[in-house]
């Protein structure tokens, strides 16, 4: 059995990767993926918490969080698509009609 702290540690790393990816990558799809990574870091924590506390809540949370993540991806892709259809780019640095 893996220690809960290991799982949580992995979560921290994942979260860091996600966050850094989110602000260092231009491609919106990649950023979306990074966000998923961040959410998964949270899921790992829930799992670790469920293990650590021996409660079932964590598992439920994880399941729901995954559902949310899925919804988020769906919506995100749709929105990015509409961005692409008008500006023909999904680079976050180029879609800057709105600024200042």
């Amino acid at each position: 059995m893996i220690e809960a702290s290991w799982i949580a540690g992995l979560g921290v790393i994942l979260f860091g990767i996600g966050l850094i990816g989110a602000f260092s990558r231009k491609n919106a799809i990649v950023v979306l993926m990074c966000i998923e990574v961040m959410l998964n870091a949270a899921n790992l924590n829930f799992v670790a918490g469920a293990l650590h506390h021996g409660s079932v809540d964590g598992w439920v949370f994880t399941a729901v969080a995954i559902a949310i993540a899925a919804a988020e991806v769906a919506i995100g892709l749709a929105i990015l698509l509409s961005l692409y259809s008008t500006q023909e780019t999904i680079s976050l640095d180029e879609a800057t009609l709105l600024r200042n």
Partner: protein, 557 residues
């Protein structure tokens, strides 16, 4: 299955769910029939076929959502007095949650009304192509904006309402996050709803990306808290926090990360950066919802986490200093940025940032732990009152822009030029909204700001040394919270500049085009009513009534 009592407590949400169902079904009703196999008997199926006149009416979805929101709105209102109940371990209906849902539904109702005029159906709409001439593109875009996507729009609107309302009722942190996500995801789509316009998609994309990062951060923070406490019920969390010996890094970092997520929701600096873009790109009613209901949602979350969970019984809260600094930065940033903004919607967005700053300052005053329960309540009343009446004038201002938008766009200050000459009613209302935003008496914006300052002063002014016999020694001893009050009033003065500038162009400049605005009867009446209410809740019995209401709600918290 819910019991009758629980049903009664959830009537507004029921109404909304019913609305969602109806919105999906009713517009699809038609004369479709199902021929019973082997017979010539045609059973009317109603779903599909040629739609009836009534069900194909393009305004139907709006009507449905308006009715649903109205019902929800009134039920919420009547629920403020004495609603209480606990459902399924994660929902707790209280006066406070009803008050907040009252605010949410109010804001969304207004957005629904405003949108009626934005999207009446028009035939022959298509997306513009490259070869189209500029004027043609404009016409096409206008037609597209008016395309029949009402159902989608109003569905999303009702989902936002449902999410927000559930969020206010959540007694469990995780459930609250889920509700927030429900509201937020729908809101992202609403922002990006005008995909025909280049800015629509961009605004949605930015808002979505930044918002998602923020909520991911928040959820991660929540997961850390879960790691620490093992339970996400607010009561349990509060108990764990109170029992915490020293500072647990999991708890502190978790709360801190959640602060980031809520900070984004209330658009506190520096998490607010996507907000102006989103407001500017979204249609005005949606931007108005973001600036009022969405912000209120963020504050409810802050209340839950900061005040219910992490506020110690005595002494300064851990987050006091952070929130205070955030407050000052937020209000100053917002006001400064709004100062030279040439886009009315952006300007209102920044002003919304500044208002978040004021309310954060009030929260910080609570966090200082100097006040007793009565003063804490006073400050909370102030904040909730502000959130409530913000719907009147902030959303009112967006609705005015929305009315302008139906003619063209309202993203330039020039679009407001000479509004007083073109449409005195609108200009007068806008003037009232602006002054209320700036906090000029006797409008309700003044009362709420006064109450917040009042609270801060009340908490802090007495802390100075009474034996100091000159200003400087006194100022050295007074609690820094006091300076938040000064910061608020100075910022109010600064903000006056851009609010007045907007009024100025309405009354002073020559209109770019002299033709009168659309009649848009309901929307116009709504705006006028909002203007009247802005005055009405400023002083006298109106204000007393609303204050009483808020007080009831807050005391239930």
């Amino acid at each position: 299955m819910l019991s009758l009592d629980e049903m009664e407590n959830l009537l507004p949400e029921m109404a909304l769910v019913a609305g969602i169902v109806l919105a999906i079904l009713v517009p699809n009703l038609g004369n479709a029939t199902l021929r019973l196999p082997l017979t010539r008997v045609r059973i009317p199926l109603f779903i599909g076929g040629t739609r009836f006149t009534a069900t194909s009416d393009p305004r139907l979805p709006a009507r449905i959502s308006i009715v649903a929101f109205s019902v929800a709105f009134f039920f919420s209102f009547f629920g403020i007095e004495g609603a209480s109940g606990e459902i399924g371990g994660v929902i707790e209906v209280s006066s406070f949650s009803r008050m907040m849902s009252f605010v949410f539904y109010g804001a969304l109702l207004l957005a629904a009304v405003a949108t009626t005029y934005r999207m009446p159906a028009r035939r022959g709409a298509r997306a513009p192509r490259d070869k189209d001439s500029e004027s043609r593109v404009e016409a096409l875009v206008a037609a597209l904006m008016d395309n029949r996507r009402q159902v989608d729009f109003h569905l999303l609107l009702m989902m936002v309402g449902l999410g927000m309302s559930l969020m206010a009722m959540a007694s469990n942190l995780f459930f609250m996050f889920v509700a927030i996500e429900l509201a937020s995801l729908a809101a992202y789509v609403l922002v990006a709803f005008h995909k025909e316009e280049a800015v629509g998609g961009e605004a949605g994309a930015k808002y979505f990306i930044v918002g998602s990062v923020a909520s991911a951060t928040g959820i991660y923070g929540m997961s850390l808290v879960y790691l620490w406490a093992g339970d996400l019920d607010f009561d349990a969390l509060a108990a764990s926090w109170a029992a915490m010996d020293g500072l647990d890094p999991f708890a502190v970092i978790g709360v801190g990360l959640m602060l980031v997520a809520f900070g984004f929701k209330v658009s506190a600096a520096p998490f607010h950066l996507a907000a102006p873009d989103a407001y500017a790109g979204a249609s005005s009613p949606v931007a108005g919802v973001l600036a009022t209901a969405s912000k209120a949602m963020g504050f409810v979350a802050l209340f839950r986490v900061l005040i219910e969970v992490t506020m110690p019984a005595e002494g300064e809260a851990l987050w006091f200093c952070i929130v205070a600094i955030l407050a000052v930065i937020t209000m100053t940033w917002g006001n400064l940025a709004a100062l030279t903004s040439e886009n009315p919607k952006r300007m209102l967005a920044y002003s919304s940032v500044a208002h978040a700053g004021y309310m954060l300052a009030a929260l910080a005053a609570i966090g200082s732990g100097l006040g007793d329960s009565a003063t804490t309540e006073l400050v909370l009343v102030a904040v909730v009152f502000h959130l409530t009446i913000l719907v009147l004038f902030k959303l009112g201002a967006f609705l005015v822009l929305g009315l302008l938008e139906t003619e063209g766009r309202s993203h330039r200050l020039e679009d407001l030029h000479g509004l007083a000459r073109r449409d005195p009613q609108l200009a007068g209302s806008m003037f009232i909204f602006m002054l209320a935003l700036a906090g000029v008496p006797p409008l309700s914006g003044f009362l709420s700001k006064l109450l917040m300052i009042n609270g801060i002063v009340n908490i802090s002014a007495g802390t100075g040394s009474t034996s100091a016999d000159a200003i400087v020694p006194w100022a050295e001893t007074v609690d820094p919270v006091f300076w938040l009050a000064i910061a608020i009033v100075l910022n109010s003065a600064l903000s006056l500049f851009y609010y007045l500038r907007l009024c100025l162009v309405m009354f002073f400049e020559e209109p770019e085009e002299a033709k009168p605005l659309r009649r848009a009867r309901h929307l116009r009446r709504t705006i006028l009513v909002l203007a009247v209410l802005t005055v009405f809740f400023g002083i006298g019995s109106g204000a007393e009534f609303l204050l009483d209401l808020v007080e009831t709600a807050v005391s239930a918290m």
